[in-house]
Symmetry: C2
Subunit: 373 residues, 2 copies
């Protein structure tokens, strides 16, 4: 005999991303109005916990909300199953039940880690994402990806766990260190390069105002990137097809990060990775000639690195092959057709196979950096 | 500004449960026909790996499927984050990619553990559940619950990850040890007690034939229990309301198991737990008088224990309070109105608060076992 079991979708089927100056101060009021949960666990890495976590905790308690602050050591090196287990155990020790909600306050590491804690705590409690870095705002916080790293690579363990709500306050970007700010810009340039040529040009044009952290300018930057990413995510929530276009630069970037033992900031790795992959795209004939050069100009206007480190290319190739996007050991990359447009590889496929010899060649060319422009 | 992000449901929205003599032998053909994945990781506890995992591996490879067998040490004691991490790392070392599928072969521990590996492997790969115990067939394998235990309690870490397919072969129950078989029967009695009085009576009536492992009888038992459970799960996939009726007996059972350091089989704990909770229901006036007695008769016909161990009731109460179903420290139980019908507690609520003094009283009465019948 055969029994058919209905397995209806999880809730919520959609969520809001609020992008507003002052949104962080307004969070307790917003939470009170929505009545998300009985108890709140604010999870935040050490420095951010002091800067934004503590004030939020006080504001939430003043608003009559039951909240605790759980800090953890900062850095990609702590985005592990061990930190995830420790945070989970602290929530259990504090007797958080199924009516709890996690609030992730911090950069991409906090969002991924706290999101994975929420995804797996008593089989899933809601998470509110409060990204406080540019990179987290325009990349990590939207799309529901959560997870941790293992020795074998980044984000190899995790879950899709869409947030209940995302709150972005451009004001907090005023205190973001320059290096972290630059890193986020790389992902914005990626959105322009793959999805919207006018946005790509706007970023290059307004780069100096953006770098001066003008709040209105930042709100526009974050808003457009979130719109673009949300559009892609909605069409491919589980990353089985077109969402791969958001991985432009990432096959090489992940390998560079692994080679640098994650000491290289993600955004800088993506910046270099996009140049390498655009060169590969041109060599494949997938990407229009001149695209890599235009990309380099845009990245340079933003103060982003465009020259890949001259490392061991064989080691880099090995690191690339373990990447999730590697199918049966061949390296695959998402590539632009031209600035503003992603190149489809075939029906439902958005990554292009790059032969090892070609990849090693463009890696070496990009590490010289001279013949690019 | 505000951006609305669509977050469509994961696939599949429904799945089949195949209950057939010979279904296990037929699995490679079925998998080949459905083309679920590129590679298969069969995850199975040590003794079951030898008994059912190895033959399945050989059959799959003979059918041209790319499969590996990953065994792990048996027992609830191994249903931990550590075993989950070790299995994940072995899959990573074997270079399983996103196009993989996990096949869980074994009892409830294998299903929960392998299901959680699948739920979190590269943010989720499909799982095919192949339960080989009666308990796993009628309880764990349907409904999508996966997870592991921590020191703080059972199933406190996990995810909802509905299987792609569930395959149950009643023939394998022929080699199941008596203790494990009895344990599964307790959950079948629970289905009858909460959902279907005719089924409750059928089990009591056919108990001796069922205990002799007649294949046709077993197919009927498993089939009806799966139908009943699937109906409840479909109406409440994320366990926020009526699915709680499946927890009848479990608030007390989990505490008994924790007190016994998980040396007490789950099904036996559930059998005792149902008697204790039915007594509590009668004391509350929620459950019709005589229900506990009728329940004891049915359980005895199946050779199941109905007398609770005379342990430290204060310790048991503390163990109950950490249970996921405890709201704000009050102990809650799902209860029958009468045999065959669950008692609703209020709009959307299916668990009833049991005061500590009352719970301690019925625990002591059930440990004497005399005044029950």
């Amino acid at each position: 005999m055969k029994v058919r079991v209905d397995s209806p979708p999880p809730l919520p089927a959609e969520y809001d991303v609020v992008i507003e100056a002052g949104a962080l101060d307004d969070l307790p009021r917003r939470i009170t109005a929505s009545g998300t949960a009985d108890r709140y666990a604010i999870i935040s890495p050490d420095p951010v916990a002091a800067l934004h976590g503590e004030p939020l905790l006080v504001a939430m308690r003043n608003a009559g909300l039951d909240a605790e602050l759980l800090a953890f050591p900062d850095g990609e090196i702590c985005k592990t199953r061990e930190t995830w287990a420790a945070l989970t155990d602290r929530m259990l020790a504090l007797r958080f039940g199924r009516d709890s909600c996690v609030i992730a306050v911090g950069g991409g590491v906090a969002g991924d880690l706290a999101g994975f804690v929420a995804a797996t705590y008593m089989r899933g409690v809601p998470v509110i994402q409060v990204p406080t870095t540019l990179l987290a705002m325009i990349d990590a916080a939207v799309g529901g990806k959560t997870g941790v790293d293992t020795d074998a690579g980044k984000n190899l363990v995790g879950a899709f766990h869409p947030p209940r709500l995302v709150v972005m306050d451009p004001v907090v970007l005023g205190t973001l260190p320059d290096a972290a700010f630059h890193a986020g810009l790389a992902e914005a340039v990626k959105h322009g390069a793959m999805l919207d040529a006018a946005y790509f040009d706007w970023i290059a044009d307004r780069a100096s105002a953006i770098l001066q952290r003008d709040t209105a300018e930042l709100q526009q930057l974050v808003g457009r990137s979130v719109e673009l990413k949300a559009g892609v995510v909605a069409g491919d929530p589980f990353d089985r097809g077109r969402r791969a276009v958001l991985n432009f630069g990432h096959t090489v970037a992940h390998a560079l990060e692994r080679q640098a033992a994650y000491a290289l900031p993600h955004g800088l790795a993506v910046s270099m990775g996009m140049v390498v992959e655009a060169l590969a795209g041109e060599a494949l004939g997938v990407t229009e000639a001149g695209t890599a050069g235009r990309l380099v100009d845009g990245l340079r206007a933003c103060g982003l690195p465009t020259v890949a480190p001259a490392g061991d290319t064989h080691e880099l190739m090995a690191a690339m092959r373990i990447d999730k996007k590697a199918h049966r050991d061949a390296v695959h990359c998402a590539l632009p057709r031209r600035i503003g447009e992603a190149a489809q590889a075939g029906r439902g496929r958005w990554t292009h196979e790059v032969a090892d010899a070609m990849m090693m060649d463009v890696l070496m060319r990009a590490s010289r950096g001279l013949d690019v422009v």
